[in-house]
Protein backbone atom coordinates (compact mmCIF):
# COMPACT_ATOMS: atom_id res chain seq x y z
CA UNK A 1 0.00 0.00 0.00
CA UNK A 2 1.45 3.33 -1.05
CA UNK A 3 1.29 6.31 1.33
CA UNK A 4 -1.79 8.44 0.96
CA UNK A 5 -3.34 6.18 -1.65
CA UNK A 6 -6.97 6.94 -2.49
CA UNK A 7 -9.00 4.82 -4.89
CA UNK A 8 -12.28 5.19 -6.79
CA UNK A 9 -12.95 8.75 -5.81
CA UNK A 10 -15.67 10.64 -7.74
CA UNK A 11 -14.14 13.82 -9.13
CA UNK A 12 -14.36 16.64 -11.65
CA UNK A 13 -11.40 18.35 -13.27
CA UNK A 14 -11.64 22.08 -12.55
CA UNK A 15 -8.59 23.21 -14.46
CA UNK A 16 -5.39 21.84 -15.88
CA UNK A 17 -2.17 23.31 -17.11
CA UNK A 18 0.90 21.89 -18.84
CA UNK A 19 3.68 20.81 -16.53
CA UNK A 20 7.22 19.88 -17.55
CA UNK A 21 7.58 18.26 -20.97
CA UNK A 22 4.63 15.91 -21.14
CA UNK A 23 2.73 16.10 -17.87
CA UNK A 24 -0.32 17.98 -16.70
CA UNK A 25 -1.00 19.70 -13.44
CA UNK A 26 -4.66 19.03 -12.75
CA UNK A 27 -6.85 20.79 -10.23
CA UNK A 28 -9.67 18.43 -9.23
CA UNK A 29 -12.73 18.65 -7.02
CA UNK A 30 -13.33 15.31 -5.31
CA UNK A 31 -16.28 14.16 -3.26
CA UNK A 32 -14.56 13.05 -0.06
CA UNK A 33 -11.20 14.84 -0.21
CA UNK A 34 -12.15 18.28 -1.44
CA UNK A 35 -10.11 20.22 -3.96
CA UNK A 36 -6.56 19.13 -4.65
CA UNK A 37 -3.79 19.34 -7.22
CA UNK A 38 -2.53 16.21 -8.94
CA UNK A 39 0.31 15.59 -11.36
CA UNK A 40 -0.86 13.52 -14.32
CA UNK A 41 2.38 12.07 -15.59
CA UNK A 42 2.77 11.76 -19.37
CA UNK A 43 -0.83 12.89 -19.85
CA UNK A 44 0.21 15.09 -22.79
CA UNK A 45 1.88 12.35 -24.78
CA UNK A 46 0.04 11.68 -28.06
CA UNK A 47 -0.78 8.11 -27.06
CA UNK A 48 -1.82 8.87 -23.50
CA UNK A 49 -5.08 7.28 -22.44
CA UNK A 50 -5.65 10.25 -20.13
CA UNK A 51 -5.94 12.70 -23.04
CA UNK A 52 -9.64 12.27 -23.65
CA UNK A 53 -10.39 11.81 -19.95
CA UNK A 54 -8.94 14.69 -18.00
CA UNK A 55 -11.37 17.25 -19.35
CA UNK A 56 -13.46 19.61 -17.29
CA UNK A 57 -17.18 18.87 -16.97
CA UNK A 58 -16.75 15.11 -17.37
CA UNK A 59 -17.64 12.95 -14.34
CA UNK A 60 -14.66 10.77 -13.44
CA UNK A 61 -13.53 8.45 -10.73
CA UNK A 62 -9.87 8.89 -9.99
CA UNK A 63 -7.16 7.30 -7.89
CA UNK A 64 -4.04 9.03 -6.60
CA UNK A 65 -1.19 8.59 -4.16
CA UNK A 66 1.36 10.72 -2.41
CA UNK A 67 1.68 13.06 0.50
CA UNK A 68 1.95 16.80 0.73
CA UNK A 69 0.53 19.45 -1.58
CA UNK A 70 1.21 17.81 -4.90
CA UNK A 71 0.02 14.24 -5.33
CA UNK A 72 0.26 11.94 -8.30
CA UNK A 73 -2.69 10.80 -10.34
CA UNK A 74 -2.69 7.04 -10.59
CA UNK A 75 -5.77 6.33 -12.69
CA UNK A 76 -8.84 8.03 -14.07
CA UNK A 77 -12.01 6.31 -15.19
CA UNK A 78 -14.72 7.76 -17.35
CA UNK A 79 -18.15 7.79 -15.76
CA UNK A 80 -20.00 9.33 -18.65
CA UNK A 81 -23.55 10.47 -18.99
CA UNK A 82 -22.69 14.13 -19.64
CA UNK A 83 -22.09 15.35 -23.20
CA UNK A 84 -19.21 17.83 -23.53
CA UNK A 85 -20.52 21.31 -22.78
CA UNK A 86 -20.38 23.77 -25.63
CA UNK A 87 -21.39 27.34 -26.38
CA UNK A 88 -22.91 29.33 -23.55
CA UNK A 89 -23.24 26.22 -21.34
CA UNK A 90 -19.45 25.86 -21.53
CA UNK A 91 -18.83 29.46 -20.46
CA UNK A 92 -21.26 28.89 -17.56
CA UNK A 93 -19.29 25.75 -16.73
CA UNK A 94 -16.08 27.77 -16.54
CA UNK A 95 -17.90 30.07 -14.14
CA UNK A 96 -18.74 27.13 -11.83
CA UNK A 97 -15.12 26.02 -11.93
CA UNK A 98 -13.77 29.46 -11.26
CA UNK A 99 -16.06 29.92 -8.26
CA UNK A 100 -15.08 26.51 -6.85
CA UNK A 101 -11.37 27.24 -7.34
CA UNK A 102 -11.54 30.70 -5.85
CA UNK A 103 -13.79 30.02 -2.86
CA UNK A 104 -13.15 26.45 -1.68
CA UNK A 105 -10.15 25.60 0.47
CA UNK A 106 -7.67 22.95 -0.59
CA UNK A 107 -7.97 19.50 0.99
CA UNK A 108 -11.20 20.45 2.69
CA UNK A 109 -13.62 17.54 2.24
CA UNK A 110 -17.01 18.92 1.27
CA UNK A 111 -19.45 16.36 -0.15
CA UNK A 112 -22.22 19.00 -0.33
CA UNK A 113 -20.08 21.18 -2.61
CA UNK A 114 -19.27 18.21 -4.81
CA UNK A 115 -22.98 17.29 -5.03
CA UNK A 116 -23.84 20.86 -6.02
CA UNK A 117 -21.09 20.88 -8.65
CA UNK A 118 -22.20 17.55 -10.05
CA UNK A 119 -25.84 18.65 -10.21
CA UNK A 120 -24.93 21.95 -11.88
CA UNK A 121 -22.71 20.37 -14.57
CA UNK A 122 -25.40 17.81 -15.40
CA UNK A 123 -28.05 20.51 -15.53
CA UNK A 124 -25.93 22.70 -17.85
CA UNK A 125 -25.58 19.78 -20.25
CA UNK A 126 -29.33 19.12 -20.17
CA UNK A 127 -31.35 22.30 -19.89
CA UNK A 128 -31.04 25.70 -21.52
CA UNK A 129 -32.18 27.61 -18.37
CA UNK A 130 -28.61 28.54 -17.40
CA UNK A 131 -29.69 31.40 -15.12
CA UNK A 132 -31.57 29.09 -12.75
CA UNK A 133 -28.70 26.57 -12.75
CA UNK A 134 -26.13 29.23 -11.88
CA UNK A 135 -28.25 30.79 -9.12
CA UNK A 136 -28.89 27.38 -7.57
CA UNK A 137 -25.18 26.59 -7.71
CA UNK A 138 -24.13 29.93 -6.26
CA UNK A 139 -26.45 29.45 -3.30
CA UNK A 140 -25.48 25.79 -2.81
CA UNK A 141 -21.79 26.75 -2.94
CA UNK A 142 -22.22 29.50 -0.35
CA UNK A 143 -24.23 27.12 1.85
CA UNK A 144 -21.75 24.25 1.51
CA UNK A 145 -18.84 26.53 2.42
CA UNK A 146 -20.73 27.99 5.39
CA UNK A 147 -20.80 31.47 3.82
CA UNK A 148 -24.55 31.69 3.22
CA UNK A 149 -26.48 34.14 5.36
CA UNK A 150 -29.39 32.49 7.24
CA UNK A 151 -32.68 32.93 5.40
CA UNK A 152 -35.12 31.11 7.69
CA UNK A 153 -35.92 34.17 9.81
CA UNK A 154 -35.18 37.90 9.88
CA UNK A 155 -32.81 39.56 12.35
CA UNK A 156 -35.64 39.84 14.91
CA UNK A 157 -36.30 36.08 14.66
CA UNK A 158 -39.62 36.60 12.88
CA UNK A 159 -40.39 34.27 9.97
CA UNK A 160 -39.82 35.72 6.48
CA UNK A 161 -42.98 37.37 5.17
CA UNK A 162 -43.37 36.86 1.39
CA UNK A 163 -45.05 40.25 1.04
CA UNK A 164 -42.42 42.26 2.94
CA UNK A 165 -39.17 43.79 1.66
CA UNK A 166 -35.84 43.03 3.31
CA UNK A 167 -32.45 44.64 3.48
CA UNK A 168 -29.89 41.86 3.00
CA UNK A 169 -26.15 41.76 3.63
CA UNK A 170 -23.71 38.93 2.82
CA UNK A 171 -23.14 37.69 6.37
CA UNK A 172 -26.20 38.41 8.54
CA UNK A 173 -29.91 37.68 8.72
CA UNK A 174 -32.22 39.79 6.54
CA UNK A 175 -33.52 42.99 8.08
CA UNK A 176 -37.18 43.75 7.49
CA UNK A 177 -37.83 47.14 5.89
CA UNK A 178 -40.89 48.70 7.48
CA UNK A 179 -41.10 51.60 5.04
CA UNK A 180 -39.48 52.78 1.84
CA UNK A 181 -40.02 52.29 -1.89
CA UNK A 182 -41.69 49.07 -3.08
CA UNK A 183 -38.53 47.92 -4.91
CA UNK A 184 -36.09 48.56 -2.05
CA UNK A 185 -33.94 45.59 -0.94
CA UNK A 186 -35.08 42.06 -1.73
CA UNK A 187 -38.62 40.67 -1.54
CA UNK A 188 -39.53 38.10 1.12
CA UNK A 189 -40.90 35.84 -1.62
CA UNK A 190 -37.45 35.75 -3.23
CA UNK A 191 -35.74 34.82 0.06
CA UNK A 192 -38.24 31.99 0.62
CA UNK A 193 -37.75 30.74 -2.94
CA UNK A 194 -33.95 30.89 -2.58
CA UNK A 195 -34.03 28.90 0.65
CA UNK A 196 -36.11 26.29 -1.22
CA UNK A 197 -33.85 26.37 -4.31
CA UNK A 198 -36.76 27.35 -6.54
CA UNK A 199 -35.70 29.70 -9.34
CA UNK A 200 -38.53 29.07 -11.79
CA UNK A 201 -39.85 32.64 -11.45
CA UNK A 202 -37.87 35.19 -13.52
CA UNK A 203 -38.48 37.90 -10.88
CA UNK A 204 -36.92 35.62 -8.23
CA UNK A 205 -33.93 34.94 -10.50
CA UNK A 206 -33.43 38.63 -11.11
CA UNK A 207 -33.54 39.61 -7.42
CA UNK A 208 -31.52 36.58 -6.31
CA UNK A 209 -28.83 37.40 -8.88
CA UNK A 210 -28.00 40.76 -7.35
CA UNK A 211 -28.07 39.41 -3.81
CA UNK A 212 -25.92 36.36 -4.65
CA UNK A 213 -23.48 38.52 -6.55
CA UNK A 214 -23.03 40.76 -3.51
CA UNK A 215 -22.48 37.68 -1.30
CA UNK A 216 -19.94 36.18 -3.72
CA UNK A 217 -18.07 39.46 -4.21
CA UNK A 218 -17.88 39.84 -0.43
CA UNK A 219 -16.06 36.49 -0.16
CA UNK A 220 -13.99 36.86 -3.33
CA UNK A 221 -12.06 39.71 -1.75
CA UNK A 222 -12.28 42.25 -4.54
CA UNK A 223 -10.47 40.32 -7.30
CA UNK A 224 -12.84 40.17 -10.32
CA UNK A 225 -14.03 36.88 -11.80
CA UNK A 226 -12.42 36.20 -15.20
CA UNK A 227 -15.48 34.31 -16.45
CA UNK A 228 -17.77 37.21 -15.58
CA UNK A 229 -15.49 39.49 -17.60
CA UNK A 230 -15.56 37.00 -20.47
CA UNK A 231 -19.38 37.02 -20.46
CA UNK A 232 -19.39 40.80 -20.48
CA UNK A 233 -16.90 40.81 -23.35
CA UNK A 234 -19.09 38.42 -25.34
CA UNK A 235 -22.17 40.55 -24.86
CA UNK A 236 -20.14 43.63 -25.86
CA UNK A 237 -19.05 42.15 -29.21
CA UNK A 238 -19.85 44.44 -32.16
CA UNK A 239 -23.42 44.00 -33.37
Amino acid sequence: MQPGKVDHQPAYVLHSQPWRETSLLVEVLTRDHGRLTLVARSARRPQSALRGLLLPFAPLTIAWFGKGELRTLHAADWQGGVPQLSGMALICGFYLNELAMRLSARDDANPALFAAHDAAVRALAREPAYGAVLRRYEWALLTALGFAPPLDADDAQRPIDPAARYHVVPDASPHRLESGPADAGVGGATLIAMAAGDYADPAVRHEARGFLRACLDHHLGGRPLATRELLQAISALPE
Partner: protein, 198 residues
Protein backbone atom coordinates in the same frame (compact mmCIF):
# COMPACT_ATOMS: atom_id res chain seq x y z
CA UNK B 1 30.59 35.58 -4.07
CA UNK B 2 28.46 37.29 -6.69
CA UNK B 3 28.18 36.63 -10.41
CA UNK B 4 29.39 39.33 -12.82
CA UNK B 5 26.43 41.53 -13.85
CA UNK B 6 26.38 40.36 -17.48
CA UNK B 7 26.16 36.71 -16.36
CA UNK B 8 23.37 37.61 -13.98
CA UNK B 9 21.47 39.41 -16.69
CA UNK B 10 21.85 36.40 -19.03
CA UNK B 11 20.44 34.11 -16.34
CA UNK B 12 17.57 36.51 -15.71
CA UNK B 13 16.91 36.70 -19.47
CA UNK B 14 16.75 32.91 -19.83
CA UNK B 15 14.13 32.75 -17.10
CA UNK B 16 11.54 34.25 -19.46
CA UNK B 17 11.19 30.83 -21.11
CA UNK B 18 8.25 28.78 -19.86
CA UNK B 19 9.23 26.07 -17.40
CA UNK B 20 12.71 27.57 -16.80
CA UNK B 21 13.43 28.54 -13.20
CA UNK B 22 16.54 30.07 -11.66
CA UNK B 23 18.45 26.75 -11.49
CA UNK B 24 17.73 25.72 -15.08
CA UNK B 25 18.53 29.22 -16.30
CA UNK B 26 21.89 29.13 -14.54
CA UNK B 27 22.65 25.70 -15.99
CA UNK B 28 21.79 26.92 -19.50
CA UNK B 29 23.90 30.03 -19.11
CA UNK B 30 26.95 28.04 -17.96
CA UNK B 31 26.48 25.58 -20.79
CA UNK B 32 26.24 28.29 -23.44
CA UNK B 33 29.23 30.24 -22.16
CA UNK B 34 31.54 27.40 -21.38
CA UNK B 35 30.70 24.40 -23.53
CA UNK B 36 29.08 25.82 -26.64
CA UNK B 37 30.17 29.34 -27.45
CA UNK B 38 29.41 28.88 -31.16
CA UNK B 39 25.91 27.71 -30.27
CA UNK B 40 25.47 30.73 -28.04
CA UNK B 41 26.45 33.00 -30.87
CA UNK B 42 24.03 31.27 -33.23
CA UNK B 43 21.27 31.61 -30.64
CA UNK B 44 21.97 35.29 -30.17
CA UNK B 45 22.00 35.96 -33.91
CA UNK B 46 18.88 33.88 -34.56
CA UNK B 47 16.99 35.66 -31.81
CA UNK B 48 18.10 39.03 -33.08
CA UNK B 49 17.13 38.16 -36.65
CA UNK B 50 13.77 36.72 -35.67
CA UNK B 51 12.95 39.75 -33.58
CA UNK B 52 13.82 42.25 -36.29
CA UNK B 53 12.49 40.32 -39.32
CA UNK B 54 9.39 38.50 -38.14
CA UNK B 55 6.03 40.18 -38.06
CA UNK B 56 2.49 38.92 -38.24
CA UNK B 57 1.02 38.41 -41.69
CA UNK B 58 -1.46 41.19 -42.44
CA UNK B 59 -4.06 38.74 -43.61
CA UNK B 60 -3.73 35.51 -41.58
CA UNK B 61 -1.83 36.78 -38.51
CA UNK B 62 0.74 33.96 -38.58
CA UNK B 63 4.46 34.69 -38.31
CA UNK B 64 5.86 36.02 -41.56
CA UNK B 65 8.92 37.85 -42.87
CA UNK B 66 6.87 39.66 -45.49
CA UNK B 67 3.77 41.79 -44.88
CA UNK B 68 1.66 39.04 -46.51
CA UNK B 69 2.82 35.43 -45.98
CA UNK B 70 3.44 32.97 -48.86
CA UNK B 71 0.25 31.09 -48.17
CA UNK B 72 -1.97 34.17 -48.24
CA UNK B 73 -0.20 35.42 -51.37
CA UNK B 74 -0.93 32.15 -53.22
CA UNK B 75 -3.66 33.08 -55.72
CA UNK B 76 -4.34 29.43 -56.60
CA UNK B 77 -5.94 28.78 -53.20
CA UNK B 78 -9.65 29.26 -52.67
CA UNK B 79 -10.15 32.81 -51.47
CA UNK B 80 -13.69 32.28 -50.18
CA UNK B 81 -12.76 29.68 -47.53
CA UNK B 82 -11.18 30.81 -44.25
CA UNK B 83 -10.06 28.30 -41.64
CA UNK B 84 -9.55 29.68 -38.10
CA UNK B 85 -6.92 27.92 -35.96
CA UNK B 86 -5.35 28.62 -32.59
CA UNK B 87 -1.63 28.37 -33.34
CA UNK B 88 0.78 28.20 -36.31
CA UNK B 89 1.45 24.54 -35.42
CA UNK B 90 -2.23 23.80 -36.12
CA UNK B 91 -1.94 25.46 -39.53
CA UNK B 92 1.10 23.31 -40.38
CA UNK B 93 -0.76 20.16 -39.35
CA UNK B 94 -3.77 21.04 -41.54
CA UNK B 95 -1.40 21.70 -44.44
CA UNK B 96 0.22 18.31 -43.91
CA UNK B 97 -3.22 16.70 -43.99
CA UNK B 98 -3.91 18.20 -47.47
CA UNK B 99 -7.56 18.73 -46.54
CA UNK B 100 -8.01 22.46 -46.95
CA UNK B 101 -7.25 24.47 -50.07
CA UNK B 102 -8.56 27.76 -48.74
CA UNK B 103 -6.82 30.31 -46.56
CA UNK B 104 -6.19 30.47 -42.83
CA UNK B 105 -6.46 32.77 -39.90
CA UNK B 106 -4.25 32.15 -36.85
CA UNK B 107 -5.61 33.50 -33.57
CA UNK B 108 -2.24 33.10 -31.80
CA UNK B 109 -3.81 31.74 -28.65
CA UNK B 110 -6.99 30.50 -27.11
CA UNK B 111 -9.44 31.99 -24.66
CA UNK B 112 -8.89 30.50 -21.22
CA UNK B 113 -10.70 32.45 -18.50
CA UNK B 114 -9.16 30.47 -15.64
CA UNK B 115 -5.67 31.38 -16.89
CA UNK B 116 -6.70 35.01 -17.26
CA UNK B 117 -6.65 34.90 -21.09
CA UNK B 118 -9.70 36.75 -22.39
CA UNK B 119 -11.04 37.72 -25.83
CA UNK B 120 -8.73 40.74 -25.93
CA UNK B 121 -5.65 38.51 -25.79
CA UNK B 122 -6.36 36.73 -29.09
CA UNK B 123 -6.58 38.41 -32.50
CA UNK B 124 -10.38 38.61 -32.67
CA UNK B 125 -10.56 42.12 -34.04
CA UNK B 126 -8.18 41.25 -36.87
CA UNK B 127 -10.25 38.13 -37.60
CA UNK B 128 -13.40 40.24 -37.68
CA UNK B 129 -12.01 42.50 -40.41
CA UNK B 130 -10.41 39.61 -42.30
CA UNK B 131 -13.57 37.50 -42.38
CA UNK B 132 -15.76 40.42 -43.45
CA UNK B 133 -13.57 41.50 -46.38
CA UNK B 134 -16.39 40.59 -48.78
CA UNK B 135 -14.53 37.71 -50.45
CA UNK B 136 -14.74 35.14 -47.64
CA UNK B 137 -17.97 33.14 -47.75
CA UNK B 138 -17.32 30.31 -45.33
CA UNK B 139 -15.44 30.43 -42.02
CA UNK B 140 -14.32 27.04 -40.71
CA UNK B 141 -13.68 27.11 -36.95
CA UNK B 142 -10.84 24.65 -36.36
CA UNK B 143 -9.88 25.44 -32.77
CA UNK B 144 -9.00 22.53 -30.50
CA UNK B 145 -11.60 20.28 -28.91
CA UNK B 146 -10.44 21.19 -25.43
CA UNK B 147 -12.64 23.23 -23.13
CA UNK B 148 -10.56 26.32 -23.97
CA UNK B 149 -10.70 25.64 -27.71
CA UNK B 150 -14.47 25.21 -27.52
CA UNK B 151 -14.83 28.45 -25.58
CA UNK B 152 -12.76 30.17 -28.27
CA UNK B 153 -14.98 28.63 -30.96
CA UNK B 154 -18.03 29.98 -29.15
CA UNK B 155 -16.64 33.50 -29.04
CA UNK B 156 -15.62 33.36 -32.74
CA UNK B 157 -19.14 32.17 -33.60
CA UNK B 158 -20.72 34.96 -31.57
CA UNK B 159 -18.45 37.46 -33.30
CA UNK B 160 -19.24 36.36 -36.86
CA UNK B 161 -22.83 35.11 -36.73
CA UNK B 162 -25.63 36.91 -38.60
CA UNK B 163 -23.23 38.53 -41.04
CA UNK B 164 -24.04 36.54 -44.14
CA UNK B 165 -21.13 34.13 -43.62
CA UNK B 166 -21.43 30.38 -43.55
CA UNK B 167 -19.96 29.29 -40.19
CA UNK B 168 -18.81 25.70 -39.79
CA UNK B 169 -16.95 23.72 -37.13
CA UNK B 170 -14.63 20.81 -37.89
CA UNK B 171 -16.22 17.49 -36.85
CA UNK B 172 -15.32 15.44 -33.82
CA UNK B 173 -15.82 11.73 -33.36
CA UNK B 174 -14.25 8.37 -33.98
CA UNK B 175 -10.68 8.54 -35.32
CA UNK B 176 -10.14 7.36 -38.88
CA UNK B 177 -9.50 3.64 -38.82
CA UNK B 178 -10.72 3.59 -35.22
CA UNK B 179 -12.23 0.49 -33.71
CA UNK B 180 -14.94 0.89 -31.09
CA UNK B 181 -13.28 -1.73 -28.94
CA UNK B 182 -10.09 0.30 -28.53
CA UNK B 183 -11.19 3.92 -28.55
CA UNK B 184 -11.31 5.86 -25.28
CA UNK B 185 -14.78 6.13 -23.72
CA UNK B 186 -14.90 9.94 -23.83
CA UNK B 187 -14.38 10.00 -27.58
CA UNK B 188 -16.82 7.17 -28.13
CA UNK B 189 -19.51 8.79 -25.97
CA UNK B 190 -19.14 12.12 -27.76
CA UNK B 191 -19.28 10.37 -31.15
CA UNK B 192 -22.56 8.87 -30.04
CA UNK B 193 -23.96 12.19 -28.77
CA UNK B 194 -22.98 13.90 -32.03
CA UNK B 195 -24.07 11.10 -34.37
CA UNK B 196 -25.23 12.26 -37.78
CA UNK B 197 -28.20 11.41 -39.90
CA UNK B 198 -27.59 9.14 -42.87
Amino acid sequence: MKNPPSLDSLIAALKVLPGVGPKSAQRMAFHLLQRDKAGAERLARALDKALSNLTHCERCNTFSETPVCNLCADASRRQDLLCVVEMPADLLMLEQAHCHDGLYFVLMGRISPLDGVGPRDVALEKLFHRALDGVVEEVIVATNFTAEGEATAHVVTELLKNRGLKLTRIARGMPVGGELEYVDPGTLAQAMFERRKL
